[in-house]
Symmetry: C2
Subunit: 350 residues, 2 copies
């Protein structure tokens, strides 16, 4: 109830009074388009208004403006969890783009739980966001469909669902690239750690990988496609399961770098040398990948860029434009975890 309060903010009214004009004139000069400003006041009056505003350190009260205009310049962002570096990086892209456009963003974690997705979305809507960006779409699209039916403007990022507007990496192609690489290295007994079954990222990466292998005449048995959480612990669990199998794979594609790191750890624990006994590839090229003791082969995805494009997409949608989804090209980055020649001396000595 108390107040730490700084000095009260100057309002348009005080600015207008001191500048000797009506508040409407001050509004047009300070907050309107330059077109508005020109026709609202003469050169000198406008300068005077701006001078006074500057002096009083006037800042338009966004709540008052939103109340009147019904637009908040706020966008809600819902992600599974910001402590996932992939999402944090995408969010940074979102924030950069939003800031550049004078928009503000709210982020919330849904932990990929339908109930929380719903709850967070309602919170965002009750804050009257102009639109939403979802980084946590589930492939079944149930929740997203509902949002679409309510005609709430939104864009998906990182994961796609249905044909709702989205900005994603070309995950299918990414999976193919890894398969291509493994095939070149001569791996025939391979496995995929496929991520969460509801995430299009994992699904598409797996599909691309599987399809490329199939084209090479090699079928992946379903026992060598294991779902997992998108983190190191998840990768570890999945790897343990794979190693329990009768025939050990010679190469493992984890659809996420952190899961791949878990795989590296598990291999060591089992006395296997990553990059030599078993090849490992990840996805996303997180900054850690190249710094690991055994640097990780991975697929670089434009995470930051995806965030920015998602904002652009949403803004175009808010402007009533017709939009279409974007799919950005990934790159394969080969490092020691799949290429023994690149292993450091000590690791090669193994």
């Amino acid at each position: 109830m108390g107040q730490g309060e700084g000095q009260r903010h100057a309002t348009l009214r005080t600015v207008a009074q001191l500048a000797g004009v009506d508040v409407s004139t001050a509004s047009r000069v300070l907050n309107g388009t330059s077109e508005d400003a020109r026709r609202a006041a003469s050169r000198e009056k406008a300068d005077e208004i701006r001078r006074v505003a500057e002096e009083l350190n006037y800042r338009s009260n966004p709540h008052a403006a939103s109340l009147r205009t019904r637009r908040t310049k706020l966008i809600g962002v819902i992600v599974p969890r910001l402590s996932d570096l992939v999402l944090a990086t995408i969010y940074e892209g979102i924030e950069d783009a939003a800031t550049r456009l004078g928009l503000s963003t709210f982020v919330m974690n849904s932990h990929d739980e339908p109930r929380e997705q719903k709850a967070r979305t309602e919170v965002a809507l009750s804050r009257r966001v102009d639109g939403l960006i979802f980084g946590d779409a589930h492939i079944d699209g149930r929740f997203i469909d509902e949002i679409a039916e309510r005609r709430i403007p939104f864009a998906l990022v990182n994961r796609r669902a249905g044909n709702h507007p989205s900005v994603t990496c070309d995950d299918y192609l990414g999976g193919r690239l890894v398969a291509e690489h493994f095939l070149e290295l001569g791996h025939e007994r391979v496995a995929v750690i496929a991520g969460e079954p509801y995430a299009s990222t994992g699904i598409d990466r797996t599909a691309g990988f599987r399809d490329r292998y199939r084209e090479a005449g090699i079928r992946l048995p379903s026992s060598r496609i294991v779902h997992s959480h998108f983190d190191a612990a998840g990768g570890r669990q999945a790897a343990e399961q794979l190693l329990r199998g009768r025939t050990r794979p010679t190469a493992v594609f984890a659809v996420n770098d952190f899961a791949a790191i878990g795989v590296l750890g598990t291999l060591r624990d089992h006395g296997l040398r990553p990059g030599k006994d078993v090849a490992v590839a990840g996805f996303n090229d997180t900054p850690l990948a190249r710094e690991l003791p055994v640097p990780l082969t991975t697929v670089r995805s434009p995470m930051h860029e995806m965030g920015g494009l998602a904002v652009d997409l949403l803004v175009r949608l808010l402007d009533g434009e017709q939009v279409k989804s974007e799919r950005l090209a990934p790159d394969l980055v080969v490092r020691a975890s799949t290429d023994p020649a690149r292993l450091s001396p000590v690791a090669t000595d193994l």
Copy 2:
């Protein structure tokens, strides 16, 4: 300009009209305290108002309320970067606590740049946040002092500065714990990768470590305290610098897990076995630490909890209470990177 718009939100006025009461009565029943509600309307009227509100799916418009009350229930959070897992985790704690209290948060990245800190803070203030949480304080406190002078309510988290209210880990103690551990293992030639020179976290961890060693009669030459960025690339650079020195340390304390990971990579590149040839400890016990090929000894800090407590602190401040800073106790977690006995078979074979 266009509108994707969903159906218009119901307002208090329509609810009041349908329930046959004045809007003020509806306001007290729906948005006031239960005390207000009781004296504003009879049992039956109140129930009727709530029924209508429910039916119309009424949500109070926070902008209208803020305009009138001058409180926004918004708090601004400024961190160096959310793609740093430590900050992302702290932010999750902040978000959880805020949600529980019915507050919303804005996060922004300052990249530890004074200019951006200033700019983001102004953005938050122009959004009329009730208070701020800074996770990016610099030890010199210049910027923070300025904010304090403007009597803007805020709390610091993770890093302290001056005697502004903060919630931190007891970093000094954390540093001592690592030193204690290294001493027990018999390490006398040790080094510290100390993080950014302006972050209290690195400063205090280094100081605790240095002091404990001094008490054991061992002085750290300044050449063995190297500053670095708080990420794997930073750790790698710092480690390279240390290995260039004449006398190689037998143990390295990196004040951050990611920097420690960079050290592990560098050691390998130089043909040195982490945990055997050189002991390595990190700080924060990020989830990755235990999953690495060579699991990392580190100091567990209560990141999530710190975030929640920072919110509590800020809220108490906003309520006009006198508050004092909190310093939470860390724990040492010993793993293979400092203890050869714990190395996995293949690593021991090295």
